[in-house]
Subunit: 207 residues, 2 copies
């Protein structure tokens, strides 16, 4: 009896540290697989097609939507992001856990379709700290930082729609908490009805 | 801002290993407190009044019910067990976590009154293993073992009303899983609305 894998959805305002946390989790859990998103945005320095993202054209993205090949998709700051459906489904059915790092719009689309997913919202210790992190990353213009911050309050308010909220103060601590969430969710009663039946059935078989 | 403590309710069929797991958890978590139950049953060898149970008479127990001093109570195998209300409430309000080791009847009473509690059901790997454990404990007559086993299937079926199911195959593994559940529940979004508001409020104060 293979327990179906768990779909973990990680969101949080830009600069909250989702990427770093994701990398650490993938390093710790061989059973955890990263779902590579398709995007129409340009690759940043060092980003690899197929590893970080599937970099596609606007036309290709529209075709994926038309074919219902995307589990969710969203337009963020003028760029499109989406999650290829088949890849995720195959992993889950094979008992693998899948982690998605997506924005709140996409997460809520997934929640409608997969309420059994585990929705985790990463928040920074404060908005000041968030601004510092985005500035230090050096990939955003001042204008872009302002836009991201003005969106952050609205986004953080979305945390209430997630199952868990994890403060990313220290990365190791945030990773430890998410690891605990994964372990706990494996024990979730709703995911273990077959297991409980198995224990009860032993009695019937032997009596 | 002190986060209210978490009420952890541990149930499982007799012989599933709740007691051992509870002891290990209490040794690992200084913030975790054991709620001592009141009972009308006779003390077993080595059990201490006020540590293992509050051993009370039938009359004293009836008085506690009448005064609504019990959070839950139940009659199990002819003996009464109950949870003194005030002790638990004071600890929770002080930010301490409280663990209760009670039967399914009591757990469901608590669930009605405190749906925010964390309800964990411990199951043995099989009913055969359960019978072995009760026999080895040496405190039950063969007749009593039969009664306990015939109740076990019904009890295990109650697991569906709990939040989590933990198989107690290896005690250390079961303890590790329950520790993860406690950590995960501290991150539960419903318990962290104040925290999320705090992060959002920083922005308002500074803008």
């Amino acid at each position: 009896m293979t327990q179906q894998g768990i779909l973990i959805v990680l969101s949080g305002p830009s600069g909250a540290g989702k990427g770093t946390i994701c990398k650490e989790l993938l390093r710790s859990y061989p059973n955890l697989h990263y779902s590579v998103s398709a995007t129409t945005r340009a690759a940043r320095a060092g980003e690899v097609h197929g590893t970080n993202y599937l970099f596609v054209s606007q036309e290709e993205f529209q075709e994926m939507i038309a074919k219902d090949d995307l589990l969710e998709w969203a337009n963020v700051y003028g760029n499109c992001y989406g999650t290829p459906r088949q890849y995720v489904m195959e992993l889950l059915n094979d008992g693998k856990d899948v982690i998605l790092e997506i924005d709140t719009q996409g997460a809520m689309q997934i929640k409608d379709k997969f309420p059994e997913g585990v929705f985790i919202y990463i928040i920074p210790p404060s908005l000041n700290e968030l601004a510092n992190r985005i500035y230090k990353r050096g990939t955003d213009s001042l204008e872009s930082i302002k836009t991201r911050l003005s969106c952050a309050t609205f986004e953080i308010d979305c945390a209430q729609h997630y199952n868990y909220v994890v403060v990313n103060d220290l990365v190791e601590e945030a990773v430890r908490k998410i690891s605990a969430i994964i372990t706990a969710e494996k024990c979730n009663a709703k995911r273990n009805t077959l297991l409980v039946n198995d224990v009860c059935c032993c009695k019937t078989a032997e009596s």
